[in-house]
């Protein structure tokens, strides 16, 4: 069962990544090009394997390009939050006294705002768009890294060999490089993979509510919102973006589970 799950995770993730990267080669259609005379074609129509939307745009092209957008947003937010959270976590771990207290209280404050609500509000204030949605999601996601890394630094500092190293006059930078990073890397990878799917789903939710990526850009969330109006005559408009989203989340989650079981079974996120 465990192996099956792992393989499934790797497989699905590979499929999604391939689809995103190869989108322009997988379909001849432009996801933005409307052909009003062939609107709402069902899946399996000639030239449109997943059908078309109300404006005659090819749904396969839109779902594939949606994957690009989703992965792009996911990767950007994960990288940003990892760097910001990592730096804050290291700071809090190494300099215990008040920097630690500040970072940890900031983390409490951050956690007290549900991150979908926070991201939506920030977007509504600073304006909608791709850059802002990435930044607002990142603003909400750094906490987990900071906590994990701080914990790791604290526990590494307790170990004898580190005390020994410090006694030998080895600087903090080296300590960090030689001992903390290798220890913390697996946890970070696991956290990143689990956060990734959360961000992709959150972005879709925010776009679905109209505070994220704006039409006509093919984002899964806004495609779902548009498809909702035609749910009773064209189920495919809501079904495929929804399925793509769920599949992506599933694949990355399974992958994350496998990474956790392999690298860091005690981690709970």
């Amino acid at each position: 069962m465990k192996r099956t799950k792992a393989w499934l995770g790797v497989g699905i993730t590979l499929v999604v990544v391939t689809a995103a990267v190869a989108a322009p080669w997988l379909t001849p259609h432009d996801p933005l090009r409307a052909d009003l005379t062939s609107g709402l074609r069902p899946p399996g129509s000639p030239g449109h394997p997943l059908g078309t939307d109300q404006l005659g745009r090819d749904l396969l092209a839109r779902v594939l390009h949606g994957a690009r957008l989703a992965l792009f947003i996911g990767i950007c937010t994960v990288v940003i939050t990892m760097v910001v959270g990592g730096v804050l976590g290291l700071l809090a771990g190494f300099v215990e006294r008040w920097p630690s207290a500040i970072v940890m209280r900031l983390a409490d404050v951050q956690l007290s705002f549900p991150f979908i609500l926070l991201a939506m509000t920030i977007n509504a204030i600073v304006g909608l768009g791709l850059r802002n949605i990435i930044l607002s999601l990142s603003a909400a996601g750094w906490v987990v890294y900071a906590r994990v890394i701080r914990g790791e630094v604290l526990s590494v500092k307790q170990r004898d060999y580190v005390h020994a190293a410090a006694a030998l006059g080895i600087g903090r930078a080296r300590l960090l490089w030689r001992h903390v990073l290798p220890n913390v890397a697996p946890s970070i990878v696991v956290v990143a993979s689990l956060q990734f799917s959360q961000f992709v789903v959150a972005e879709a939710a925010i776009s679905f509510l109209g505070f994220g990526v704006q039409p006509p850009t093919p984002a899964w969330g806004s495609m779902l919102a548009e498809g909702r109006d035609f749910l009773y005559v064209a189920w495919w408009l809501a079904a495929f973006p929804g399925a793509a989203l769920a599949l992506t989340a599933l694949g990355v989650n399974l992958l994350g589970d496998w990474l956790r079981d392999t690298f860091d079974p005690k981690l709970r996120v």
Partner: protein, 306 residues
Amino acid sequence: MRGYVLSRLAQTALVVFLSLTAVFGMVRLGGDPVLLFMPMDIQAKDVNEFRQRLGFNDPLPVQYGRFLAGAVRGDFGESLRYRRDAMGLVVERLPATLLLGSTSLLLTLLVAVPLGIVSAVRRDTLVDHVGTVATVLGQATPGFWLGLMLIYLFSVHLRWLPTGGTGTAAHLVMPSIVLAAFFAARIARLTRSAVLDALHEDYVQTARAKGLAEVRVVGKHTLRNSAIPIVTLAGLEAGQLLGGAVITETIFAWPGVGRLTVQALLNRDFPVVMAAVFLTSLTYTMLNLAVDLLYGWLDPRVRVRA
């Protein structure tokens, strides 16, 4: 215990203060905050008069002080759309959200904890596999998508349940299922692994060796020890439950804080947004405090460490 309680209370007060500050800072992210606080039908020429009246010409510390003084009394200004005090509006919607939240929480615990326990005890059986698939799918399915599908099936096709709104217990069924789904999946997985961990502990092995019935082994020795991580996660995730309520309430037209916030954002009614965001944060912080106190009571070691 008393020292622990006091220190937690002090921390909580600090967090509340910081989150107020964050709310104050948030509306200044986009540049000129006065644009967020003017009534809909204001003319461009009246903007300056408004800036003056709302005090946006004062130095920032003065504005901040005034904001804090107001916030302490629950005064976040007047809603631009409803022309009433913003916090009052939000507080009115809180019971609906708490009702939905607690129903979901109850549903989660009723389904997820037994599922997790059974999966752990009957590890690698059919029950465990089905449970695993269900939880993995539950975690991957976006709530808004699940909501649409449920409406399609249960309201339009079968006509068993209403599409949205409030009034009867039936109105509560779909929203709480959607809100609980993701949460339940996480709790079930956590319960499973916590119980598995506990089952491997020495004292459980000892209890088994003593010939205690399996039900008692699991019930008495395992569950209490697994309870701590579950309670912790429940507390941590309560914030996301409140966040999930934003989406669920919107889809099912549930008149809670989440839907009010979305509408206020759409209408650019920022006094209400500020009040709602702060109240959500406050609710979460209080829940967390409660969880921490409960935690301290469950596990005496925590008190000492704090």
